[in-house]
């Protein structure tokens, strides 16, 4: 029975990990750039939610009403003013740029909020649970996180297949030079895509902050989980993040069952196994660019 409980918890944890991976999969999938500051941006999102809840007195989940549009604009500005300058020179400039940004975000957060660990509060939501059996209950918040990521994936799938802008994203991902011949400005598309990724990062930051406490230097650890999710799911595959997150989550809770010290290790081992057996991930959706 322990194995069953651990799997259920692993799947639920996978929901949060899928969220971690989703923003990274979007940036890689559409722009083919790697955002090394992704984890720090999630933590930044958590801190911003903290600020909004304190200043406006809103509950953490309601802070998303402010955070999502604000982060969308920030993402768009970031891409159009900063990242677009690094285009066309391969993947390295974006890596160096976002690595630097990662250091800047961490230290800016440290200066502003100190090194104290913070939490977001959503009152009873964090302690509510649904009893499955007499001695096993699942948390409402983890279940909600999983539902949110599933809804996001369905919405994104619809958006990419059935809207003008969604098709422009896919076409630009395929070939940013050719889309210009079809009247699409790839730089503008990239700006909107980064805006979308930042909006998802805002959601991720809030759900992470509700689930665990966070501090300015937590970003890199989130980044590693995010990378593991998209390596398992398939680099740049949007739909792959769910299975990637669930596999990582279940691997961790299973490892935890054997020995609590194996919690993270077993997740890394699962990622390495996928890398060894299927280097392009389980659902490779993007194609190699020439």
């Amino acid at each position: 029975m322990d194995i069953f409980y651990a799997s259920v918890n692993g799947v639920l944890l996978g929901g949060l990990y899928a969220l971690y991976g989703l923003g990274l999969a979007l940036t890689f999938g559409i722009m083919r750039t790697i955002n090394l500051a992704h984890g720090d941006m999630i933590v930044f999102g958590s801190f911003m939610s903290l600020v909004v809840t304190r200043v406006l007195g809103l509950p953490a989940l309601a802070s998303l009403v402010v955070l999502i549009p604000a982060m969308f604009l920030l993402g768009r500005l970031f891409q159009e003013r900063v990242m677009n300058r690094s285009l066309g020179e391969g993947i390295m400039p974006s890596i160096i740029l976002t690595f630097g940004l990662s250091v800047v975000i961490q230290n800016a957060l440290l200066l502003t909020f100190s090194a104290d660990r913070q939490t977001l509060s959503a009152g009873q939501l964090q302690t509510m649970s649904l009893p499955l059996t007499e001695d096993f209950a699942i948390g409402v918040l983890p279940l909600m996180t999983l539902c949110v990521v599933i809804v996001l994936l369905i919405a994104l799938n619809w958006f990419f297949r059935h809207t003008m802008l969604g098709r422009a994203f896919r076409a630009t991902s395929d070939d940013p030079e050719v889309v210009a011949l079809m009247g699409i400005d790839p730089r503008r598309t990239y700006g909107l895509a980064m805006g979308l990724a930042f909006a998802i990062i805002a959601i991720t930051g809030v759900f992470m902050g509700l689930r665990t406490n966070f501090a300015p230097f937590d970003g890199p650890a989130r980044l590693i989980f995010a990378f593991e999710v998209i390596i398992i799911g398939g680099m740049g595959s949007i739909q792959g993040v769910l299975i990637g997150g669930v596999i990582l989550g279940v691997a961790q809770t299973m490892g935890n069952l054997v020995n609590p010290a194996f919690f993270q290790l077993s997740g890394h081992v699962a990622t390495l196994l996928v890398l060894a057996i299927r280097p392009s991930g389980l659902f490779p959706e993007t194609i190699e660019r020439d």
Binding site: M164, R167, R170, A171, V178, V179, L181, M182, G183, D185
Partner: protein, 256 residues
């Protein structure tokens, strides 16, 4: 020079290229090329490999920035505009190597071109994409993934996307290259239909007979310079053209 050129110059030209230059370091790829394209006219561009044909077309289309010269389209100076803006203005280029959005369906490829390049709303874009695929004969394959098309299929898709943008002038870069004789003939028919619908065409091609049967005027380039411009037969038989292709001795021997 010839009737075609003089008639093109009579009214306001659709497209006017003036003094276009492109240098990469010390190498001049296109040097001071000028010509006009009248509405509905079809010009073929010939020249040996490395003559600067593709670069010229890319400068007109806006993918490559010119070092000097201007591109005027419908009386508007487009020289500083991006490729996407020129596409929306009706100046549409196809790629030398077909570059479909491989993971998208044929239908989606055409729809992207219609909705963005043609700046159309959903319903109008769907109609335009449908019409473009109908004209190129790809409609029955609209559900196929573009990456799975044959070479001819990709060329048709390249044309479909260009048509879906709603071009007034079409810049075709070696679209017949690599096709069988039969396929080339199909393509010539298709391009003739496109031209008959009032779209002006600039067509780079190595397959001379394909050009000769489709265009009313030829421009020959060599080492980035325009060496001949006029009726196809006159250009082919001109001394400058023969010298560029066959070298001095044969040209003089043949002419003698």
């Amino acid at each position: 020079m010839t009737q075609e050129t003089s008639s093109a110059r009579r009214g306001e030209p659709l497209l006017s290229v003036s003094g276009l230059c492109k240098r990469y370091g010390a190498v001049t790829v296109v040097s001071d090329v000028s010509f006009d394209l009248a509405a509905g006219e079809a010009i073929g561009v010939l020249g040996p490999n490395g003559a600067g044909k593709t670069t010229l077309l890319k400068m007109i289309g806006g993918t490559v920035a010119a070092n000097a010269g201007t591109v005027t389209f419908q009386g508007q100076d487009l020289t500083r505009l991006s490729a996407e803006a020129r596409c929306r203005a009706g100046l549409v280029r196809t790629n030398q190597v077909p570059a479909p959005f491989s993971l998208m369906t044929v239908w989606e490829n055409a729809l992207v071109a219609a909705s963005h390049g043609g700046a159309l709303s959903r319903r109008a874009a769907e109609d335009r994409a449908h019409e473009a695929l109908l004209r190129t004969g790809l409609l029955d394959r609209h559900h196929s993934t573009a990456g799975g098309l044959s070479l001819m299929g990709r060329k048709r898709l390249e044309l479909s996307r260009a048509l879906a943008c709603g071009p007034k002038a079409l810049l075709l870069d070696e679209i017949a290259g690599g096709l069988s004789d039969y396929e080339v003939k199909e393509l010539i028919d298709l391009i003739a239909q496109i031209r008959a619908s009032g779209v002006a065409i600039i067509w780079i091609e190595h397959i001379v007979h394909a050009l000769m049967s489709s265009v009313s005027r030829l421009i020959a380039l060599d080492f980035g310079n325009k060496i001949a411009d006029g009726a196809p037969r006159d250009v082919i038989e001109s001394e400058a053209f023969r010298r560029a292709y066959f070298g001095d001795s044969i040209a003089t021997a043949e002419l003698a």
